[in-house]
């Protein structure tokens, strides 16, 4: 766990909205956090909390009718939000790489694996001979634990776990500084999940990169990340080191999330969170969580809580944190 | 309703064109003497004038009368063939899609083979084999004989998609019988799609019938649009510069096809909500 305060990736006040005929959807509402070198940062939240939008926004991949309304993203000294489109394109994969969600369909079905690695390398300006490319591909596949034959295969010839690891191989081929893994293990069974997460951890250590793990599986987060950020209704309602979040969560939502995790020790009924996550275009006034919050009071429906420092390394957005 | 028409511009244009056509036929039926559509009725080869707004042809027919008399005939052939095509096609499609197995394989194979063969050629063979010239109704039947192929295929694939939907499963669990499910659950959801298929089937039927007629294989004595064009080519009207002879049927055929085309596109938009334009 890194104790240094220098930021590798800095997100400040990011706002993303979508135009919908029935109203504007605030998918990401004034989100700020920093990612430290070599760190594993988790971004958790329910479906519709805005976490996937956040990953796209960091890579400046938001398309109409969505638009980035404000905020800045910095990769070390580079202002990502101010780069030209071509500069952003070159930053993708080389500076910040994404391992996509739904690897079932993230690979081009008519192109071989080695060419899907090859075109990324070529489009970033590196010319490799066929032999060099083959060697590079073989090394990459080895790093993710895939046999060399995988290079000449098509995606439909691979299993789900293999496809996901192929995506990881693509993501690391240019030695990025930051890897954003967007729900990399959804639709995979637990055994394969473990393989994929181990692979991810190993390549991260090899590269000395930082990882942002986006997902909703709290158990997975607990096992993998150093620090965790919880998103709700487009806002980052709590950020803290993982131990702290598990043992002493500050925000009521986080608390309910932790409580809802099934445990081997404690037997009893499943505990969920009552109610449904609000529609992002129709948020309740004040704190977005107050309709479902066991601690809510009158002021919660009027005053929107700001993000405050509540411990040396933790922030939360709650009046009672 | 009008608001929807404003949004679905294709539907609007299609309906508009077809309305103009209907008006032409109706008003014409009352104001024009269709006896003049017969040969040797009026002076031959007159360019358009007050007396003969569409001019006259070489055999002495008043072309306006010919158009007024012939357009309904052409449309009639198309409609009859189109309706039979979709009717038979839908019945076969439902049967094939619902019962599956051997039934499905047989129906599907016949339809697929039939579709690969160019329809016009088969129609030519049929028309040539029928001794003597055809009446308008016989023409419709001839065209209808192939008109069911495409509807069978497309409706079948739509039914197959719908069959996997949840409400069909529930109906089955509730004990509804096969035919009952077809009629009560699948049909209502297919209606917009069936309408679109019907319109395109009519359009294809008109195209086939006009094609046959231009080759001289249609009802030779009738003043249908295609036959008029046949006479145009037979008499080398283009080279001789009698432009009015072919302009009238051309414009009407264009209106028919464009009208039906836009109507199909408009109906497609209703049938497939994903195609709907967001404002």
């Amino acid at each position: 766990m890194s104790q240094s305060n220098s930021a590798l990736l800095r997100v400040a006040g990011l706002r993303v909205a979508y135009d919908h005929p029935l109203g504007t959807v605030r998918a990401v509402d004034d989100v700020s956090f920093t990612l430290r070198p070599h760190e594993r940062f988790g971004l958790a939240g329910e479906s519709g909390s805005g976490k996937s939008t956040m990953s796209l926004a960091i890579l400046r991949m938001i398309k109409p009718p969505g638009h980035i309304d404000g905020g800045e993203v910095w990769l070390e000294d580079t202002p990502v939000s101010k780069l030209s489109p071509d500069a952003v394109r070159r930053l993708r994969l080389a500076g910040i790489a994404m391992v996509p969600q739904g690897s079932m369909n993230s690979l081009n079905p008519v192109v071989r694996i080695r060419d899907q690695i090859g075109d990324a390398i070529a489009d970033h300006g590196t010319r490799l001979s066929r032999r060099d490319l083959a060697a590079r591909v073989r090394t990459l596949l080895g790093q993710v634990g895939l046999p060399p034959e995988t290079a000449s295969k098509y995606p439909h010839e691979l299993s789900g776990g293999m496809k996901q690891r192929a995506c990881i191989a693509i993501a690391i081929c240019l030695r990025p500084k930051v890897i954003i893994a967007d729900e990399p293990t959804s639709a995979l069974d637990v055994v394969v999940q473990r393989q994929v997460m181990e692979t991810l951890g190993r390549v991260q250590a090899d590269l000395g990169a930082a990882v942002i793990l986006v997902g909703h599986d709290m158990g997975l987060m607990a096992q993998f990340v150093d620090r965790l950020g919880i998103m709700y209704a487009g806002r980052l309602v709590e950020v803290a080191p993982i131990d702290q979040i598990i043992t002493a969560p500050r925000h009521p939502y986080t608390r309910l999330l932790i409580d809802s995790l099934p445990s081997l020790e404690r037997k009893g009924g499943l505990r969920g969170i009552p109610g449904l996550a609000p529609l992002l275009r129709d948020l309740p006034p004040g704190c977005a969580f107050h309709p479902r919050c066991p601690r809510a009071e009158a002021r919660c429906s009027i005053d929107k809580p700001e993000v405050r420092q509540v411990a040396p390394d933790a922030t939360a957005a709650c009046h009672f944190a | 309703m009008f608001n929807y028409l404003r949004r679905n511009r294709s539907l609007l244009v299609g309906l508009g064109l077809l309305t103009i056509l209907v008006l032409f036929m109706v008003i014409g039926a009352f104001t024009v003497d269709t006896d003049n559509a017969q040969p040797l009725s009026v002076q031959a080869l007159q360019p358009p004038s007050w007396d003969y707004p569409f001019g006259t042809d070489r055999q002495g027919r008043d072309l306006l009368a010919v158009m007024v008399a012939g357009t309904p005939l052409t449309l009639w052939i198309g409609f009859v063939a189109g309706f039979i095509g979709v009717g038979v096609g839908a019945a076969l499609a439902f049967t094939a899609a619902y019962y599956g197995g051997m039934v499905d394989t047989v129906i599907r194979s016949i339809a697929d083979i039939g579709l690969t063969i160019p329809g016009l050629l088969v129609l030519i063979i049929i028309a040539v084999s029928l001794k003597g010239s055809l009446s308008v109704n016989q023409m419709a039947i001839v065209v209808a004989s192939l008109a069911w192929l495409n509807p069978t295929r497309t409706i079948r694939s739509q039914v197959l998609t719908l069959r996997e939907r949840g409400y069909v499963e529930i109906a089955r669990l509730n004990g509804m019988s096969g035919p009952e499910i077809i009629v009560r659950e699948l049909m209502p959801n297919l209606l917009p799609y069936l309408a679109a298929t019907l319109v395109s089937s009519v359009s294809a039927a008109i195209l086939a019938s006009v094609g046959l007629e231009v080759l001289g294989l249609g009802p030779v004595e009738s003043p249908t649009l295609g036959m008029t064009l046949y006479w145009v080519f037979f008499n080398a009207a283009i080279i001789n510069g009698w432009w009015w002879w072919w302009t009238a049927p051309l414009v009407i055929i264009l209106t028919v096809f464009l009208g039906l085309f836009f109507l199909t596109v408009g109906l497609d938009e209703i049938a497939n909500p994903r195609l709907r334009r967001a404002i």
């Binding site: 993708r92 690979l107 | 050629l121 231009v214 080759l215 080279i239 051309l250 096809f257």
Partner: protein
């Protein structure tokens, strides 16, 4: 005199086997066809059906083959560009006229073009495959002559077809562009051109090619009429002539040839398909 004609009819009937029962005639037919004998042309005796078809077929294959390939290629590429946000905006102006054009049958457009360019403006010849009196030979002048005669029929087919292909491809592209692998391609920082060709077109072209295979029959039907009105000496015009002359054998022969040719073309496309889409394979899984 009367008796003489009746005898002649009987002799012809015997010769062509028309006096035998129907099923016998059919068997004879199958036997003959398998040997490549499509019989004599009734109206153009003693020319054989095969020789007449052999003269006309290359014209049709050339016209249809080239125009179909061109329309498919141009239309598909245009459609792809129309769907791509990075393409120039003025391309969109092409769509409405092409769209409207593709709803009308080939031969109607042919009629209009013929009137405009051959009659009114007198730029191009009215009909035929080559000028009357010219002798077919592989000279430059003859080739040019052929091309001049082929422009109008070709244009009638191309102008109508391009719109259809463009429209279809545009639809496919829109669907493809929404796929996850295109999103990932963008996240990989690939160049716009790479994504356009290798990720979008490469995938959208698959259903487009299926469409081509299915449309072959229709294209042929339309082409027959085009040949007729332009007097282009291909299979279509031959068929028309055969119909006028009630030449059953020739009609049968032409239809047979056409169906075989179409079957072959579809077969070729079927073979090509696994090469385009590696997910399809004809081996047992």
């Amino acid at each position: 005199m009367h008796a003489g004609i009746e005898d002649m009819v009987k002799v012809y009937q015997q010769k062509f086997g028309l006096d035998k029962p129907l099923w016998r005639q059919y068997l004879n037919y199958l036997g003959d066809v398998s040997q490549g004998n499509l019989n004599y042309s009734i109206a153009n005796y003693p020319r054989t059906v095969v020789s007449m078809i052999r003269d006309a077929l290359p014209w049709t294959v050339a016209l249809l083959g080239l125009t179909t390939l061109f329309s498919f290629a141009a239309g598909t590429f245009l459609g792809a560009l129309l769907a791509w946000p990075g393409a120039p905006r003025w391309l969109q102006w092409f769509m409405p006229p092409l769209w409207a054009l593709h709803a009308i049958p080939f031969f109607l457009l042919g009629l209009v073009l013929m009137y405009l360019f051959a009659f009114q403006f007198q730029w191009l010849p009215i009909f035929g495959g080559y000028s009357a009196g010219a002798t077919p030979s592989l000279t430059w002048t003859f080739t040019l002559d052929v091309l001049r005669h082929a422009i109008l029929p070709a244009l009638s087919i191309v102008l109508v077809s391009v719109g259809g292909w463009a429209l279809a491809m545009r639809g496919m592209m829109v669907t493809t562009m929404g796929e996850d692998y295109v999103t990932f391609a963008e996240a990989k920082g690939l160049r716009s051109a790479t994504i356009f060709t290798r990720y979008c077109i490469r995938n959208a072209i698959l259903p487009q090619t299926t469409g081509l295979a299915l449309a072959l029959g229709q294209i042929l039907s339309g082409a027959v009429l085009v040949e007729v009105i332009f007097g282009y000496p291909g299979i279509g015009a031959l068929l028309f002539q055969a119909i006028e002359e009630n030449d059953f054998f020739l009609i049968q022969g032409i239809v047979f040839t056409v169906i075989v040719a179409l079957g072959f073309a579809t077969f070729v496309l079927d073979i090509l398909y696994p090469w385009l889409d590696p997910r399809i394979s004809y081996r047992r899984a």
